[in-house]
């Protein structure tokens, strides 16, 4: 009798589709978060300015960025699944302290830029909702700090939900704004339909770098491994996580696509130069009507908060991996003290930078996300090297396509970075 009961209980769980669903969902949770977090306030601002300034042709970039995002995230995931070490761990072990410090500084600067963009978004929201700036910023930073140190799953979930709903408003708005769908979709495959002036080309280059840097982030490369740590490595897990990272990449850019279409079909067609939150909110007016401003403010606030929580955390975890924080400090208290100091430094520094007068969220977002993109090849270099190494990865080393695609993309990013710097310095 008893044995029968055991069998019955297990048989249900052993049903193929139930097992598959369980495996899939357990893998999906974190990946969806990572994908969502890619579209933080900086992301919304960047996609808005991309759509408003460049119209549909910028969509072509998504066609290249999406596979690049998927493949590089999968590399990071696979690296950790096979070695049970994070990207930072392995860079430290194989390339030593100096390289580690160099990459950490790059990551730190890129992350500080991203955090500053989030704070800048909070300031924009305070303006839109007529709340005094500094009290609002300070309160939000305090909440973020409490959130990082204490953590709250329910709140995380609610914020994710608000952000997802916010993204959905873009999809509905894009549909209601009567965009030229033919032009939008054909632009995914080749950019066309605009006059290619020199000014347009320069904008395309700089903003394109921004779009790249906000979609594929250096911190994302370090963050992905924390999800892979506890998983078992077998053929199936590898297959699922591969599918999962590709799906995550698709999801990220699915939303990006509609954000760009919504802004392109509302702002670009009317020739509005994006400088304020109110203008950016116009993109969701087809859905939200007069509530557009308020809805945009709440949505971008939630997106900013999400970035404010995840990005400083990724800096702290990378620091601890690179420099063995837990080892150099004896107790958990000491460890968390260093973690706290790192958080506070990042949040305060970001808030101080936004105090510099004349910084607009949208221009600042482009600048910081471009910086993100410029640091990417550095991270990719080590990621590709590590994941291509047969010695480290064994049979799970990169195949030719994975290696070549990412290498060529990295080279292009380096060239584009150089042109961007020249374009900005010489004011083309």
């Amino acid at each position: 009798m008893m044995e029968k009961l055991i069998l019955m209980r297990d048989r249900w769980a052993a049903t193929p589709w139930v097992r598959q669903a369980v495996v899939l969902f357990s893998v999906f949770g974190p990946a969806t978060i990572a994908a969502m977090a890619d579209n933080d306030a900086g992301g919304v601002a960047t996609y808005s300015i991309a759509g408003a300034t460049l119209g549909y042709p910028i969509l072509f970039l998504l066609f290249i960025i999406t596979p690049l995002l998927g493949i590089t995230q999968e590399m990071g995931m696979r690296l950790t699944l096979v070695t049970r070490r994070g990207l930072a761990d392995l860079i430290r072990e194989k390339y030593g302290v100096k390289v580690s410090l160099f990459i950490f500084l790059g990551l730190f600067i890129a992350n500080l830029g991203t955090i500053t963009t989030e704070v800048s978004a909070i300031r924009t929201v305070s303006g839109m909702l007529h709340i005094p700036v500094w009290p609002f910023v300070v309160i939000m930073l305090l909440i973020a700090f409490a959130f990082i140190t204490k953590g709250n799953y329910k709140l995380t979930q609610s914020i994710m939900l608000i952000v997802s709903l916010f993204y959905l408003t873009y999809i509905i708005s894009a549909a209601k704004a009567n965009p030229d769908w033919g032009l939008a979709f054909s632009n995914l495959f080749y950019p066309h339909g605009v006059v290619w002036t020199q000014q347009y080309l320069v904008s395309y280059l700089v903003i394109g770098m921004g779009v790249l840097g906000t979609t594929i982030t250096p911190w994302g490369q370090f963050f992905i491994s924390s999800f892979a740590f506890d998983k078992k490595i077998d053929k199936d897990t590898l297959k699922y996580s591969q599918f999962e990272t590709y799906w995550g990449a698709f999801l990220t850019d699915f939303f990006s696509f509609f954000m760009i279409v919504a802004t392109a079909s509302t702002l670009f067609v009317r020739g509005i130069v994006l400088t304020s939150g109110e203008q950016a909110a116009e993109a969701i007016r087809p859905f939200a009507g007069d509530l557009a401003g308020t809805l945009f403010a709440i949505g971008i606030l939630a997106a900013a908060f999400m970035g404010l929580v995840i990005v400083p955390l990724s800096t702290a975890y990378a620091f601890s991996e690179f420099f063995g924080l837990s080892g150099s400090l004896d107790s958990d208290y000491q460890k968390s003290k260093t973690f706290y100091i790192l958080f506070i430094v990042q949040l305060v520094a970001a808030a101080s930078i936004t105090a510099i007068p004349g910084i607009s969220l949208f221009h600042f977002a482009i600048a910081t996300q471009t910086l993100n993109a410029m640091i990417l090849p550095l991270v990719f270099f080590y990621l590709i090297k590590l994941t291509s190494s047969k010695k480290i990865m064994g049979e799970h080393a990169n195949n030719g396509f994975q290696k070549n695609f990412t290498t060529i993309a990295s080279v292009f990013i380096v060239i584009a970075s150089a042109f961007t710097v020249i374009a900005v310095v010489f004011k083309w």
């Binding site: 008893m2 044995e3 009961l5 055991i6 069998l7 209980r9 297990d10 048989r11 052993a14 357990s26 949770g29 974190p30 978060i33 070695t83 049970r84 070490r85 761990d89 430290r92 072990e93 030593g96 302290v97 100096k98 410090l101 959130f147 953590g151 709250n152 799953y153 709140l155 995380t156 924390s226 999800f227 740590f229 506890d230 078992k232 490595i233 929580v309 955390l313 975890y317 420099f323 063995g324 837990s326 080892g327 150099s328 400090l329 004896d330 000491q334 010695k391 480290i392």
Partner: protein
């Protein structure tokens, strides 16, 4: 005293003074009778590639340039031994096991000292200062540490307590069992969660059944199953017997129904029956969480008789602090604690000092509710009864609170994602 970070890159000169290359690595050999390994050779990186030169052919090692004693061409190649450690390749920047502090730490630098004409590995540097030295900023580090009156930056572990975890190879622990035996199972569990698969599998094979069972109880069931993947069924069955029945049941739930049945058959009948009983209940209810190893007595016993009884059965019980009183049909009618028992006069019948209002939970009570009850009444364990009030087992407070306070394994993820698992 010297640091390996200072030695690497130093020029190595031939007998005639020409440079043949620079120091790339140091090879240290461990000897049974000595806790610290001795430098036995250096790896020289030259134009023709790397070559290992025996220590005995060096005129000096801890000097600005390293001269050879005889012409390089006449020196035979160094033969690597089984106990050789390449300090740069295998240890520097890698994670090691600090058996004194029971933790996994990263090596920032390695300290060498001269002892009777030999160079010996004395300590590994795990502090911030080691990192700063590698970056050429040691002075700045010392100055800052002094200025702020803190020794945070300094940290080193004597090699005596170091277990290198050699990656890409299966780990060979030097004196594992003796050292590991002194560690608390929680510490072993913590260490295992920091190790890679190949590393922890070796470590687990070194533990005896009792240690293995204790260690497994400190990690989550799905990870337990993962850890035991390469163990034979016989050994897993032995471990299951050693574990408390509730933990064993949780672990069995992680295996396929077939393997779980096979394992139950391999176990001693008595232990297997206890586990089978628990397997009937859902994992997150009192029935699934409870252990059947509690102590119960009859109300007509005296305090002295009870103490004698406890001496006999206490060994097998998970918890003897609470003693439950039942009638001969196992109906729970009272409870008393060890302190009640010891304070009572030897000939007092239990009926006179037992508490008759017993806080209990039912077999299907959910874990959250049990946790609340345990917290509310400050209990170390709570008895589990069926609808007729018969006692079936007890849920200890650590099992009840497990969900709220996750075990070591879950600490790794940022905590607000923990719940998503």
């Amino acid at each position: 005293m010297a640091f390996i970070s200072e030695l690497t890159g130093r020029p190595v000169t031939d007998f005639d003074g020409t440079q043949i290359g620079v120091v790339k690595d140091l090879v240290a050999r461990s000897y049974k009778e000595f806790t610290h390994p001795v430098v036995d050779a250096i790896v020289v990186h030259g134009k023709a590639g790397d070559r290992a030169v025996p220590y005995s052919d060096l005129a000096a090692l801890l000097s600005a340039a390293i001269p050879l004693k005889r012409p390089a061409a006449s020196i035979p190649a160094y033969e690597f031994g089984e106990n050789d450690i390449r300090l740069v390749d295998d240890v520097l920047d890698k994670q090691i096991l600090d058996t004194d502090g029971a933790r996994v730490v990263r090596v920032n630098d390695i300290e060498l000292v001269r002892v009777n004409g030999n160079v010996v590995v004395s300590n590994v540097d795990i502090g911030m200062l080691g990192i700063l030295r590698r970056l050429g900023l040691e002075k700045l580090g010392r100055w800052t540490a002094k200025r702020f009156n803190t020794d945070l930056a300094v940290g080193s572990i004597s090699w005596e307590f170091v277990e290198p975890l050699i990656h890409d190879k299966s780990m060979r622990l030097k004196v594992p069992v003796e050292k590991l035996a002194e560690l608390h199972p929680s510490d072993i569990a913590e260490i295992i969660s920091d190790l890679s698969r190949a590393e922890h599998s070796d470590l687990l094979h070194k533990l005896d059944i009792k240690q293995l069972a204790d260690t497994l109880e400190e990690v989550e069931p799905d990870f337990q199953a993962d850890l035991l993947e390469h163990f034979t069924d016989e050994k897993v069955a032995d471990v299951l017997e050693e574990m408390s029945p509730d933990e064993a049941a949780d672990l069995l739930n992680e295996f396929s129904p077939e393997r779980s049945q096979d394992l139950l058959k391999l176990m001693e009948t008595e232990e297997a029956d206890e586990v089978r009983e628990l397997l009937r209940y859902d994992e997150d209810t009192a029935g699934g969480l409870m252990t059947t190893e509690y102590v119960s007595v009859f109300p007509d016993m005296t305090a002295a008789e009870t103490i004698d009884h406890l001496r006999k059965v206490g060994e097998d019980a998970e918890l003897v602090y609470y003693v439950y009183v039942t009638d001969n049909q196992e109906h729970l009618i009272g409870v008393f604690s060890l302190s009640d028992l010891i304070v009572a006069k030897p000939d007092t019948p239990i009926l006179e000092f037992m508490h008759k209002r017993v806080v209990s939970v039912e077999l299907d009570t959910e874990q959250d509710e049990i946790a609340q009850i345990v917290a509310k009444y400050n209990l170390i364990a709570v008895p589990v009864v069926d609808a007729e009030g018969r006692i079936h087992g007890i849920v200890t407070s650590d099992d009840a609170l497990d969900k709220i306070l996750p075990t070591a394994w879950k600490k790794r993820l940022p905590h607000f994602f923990g719940a998503l698992e």
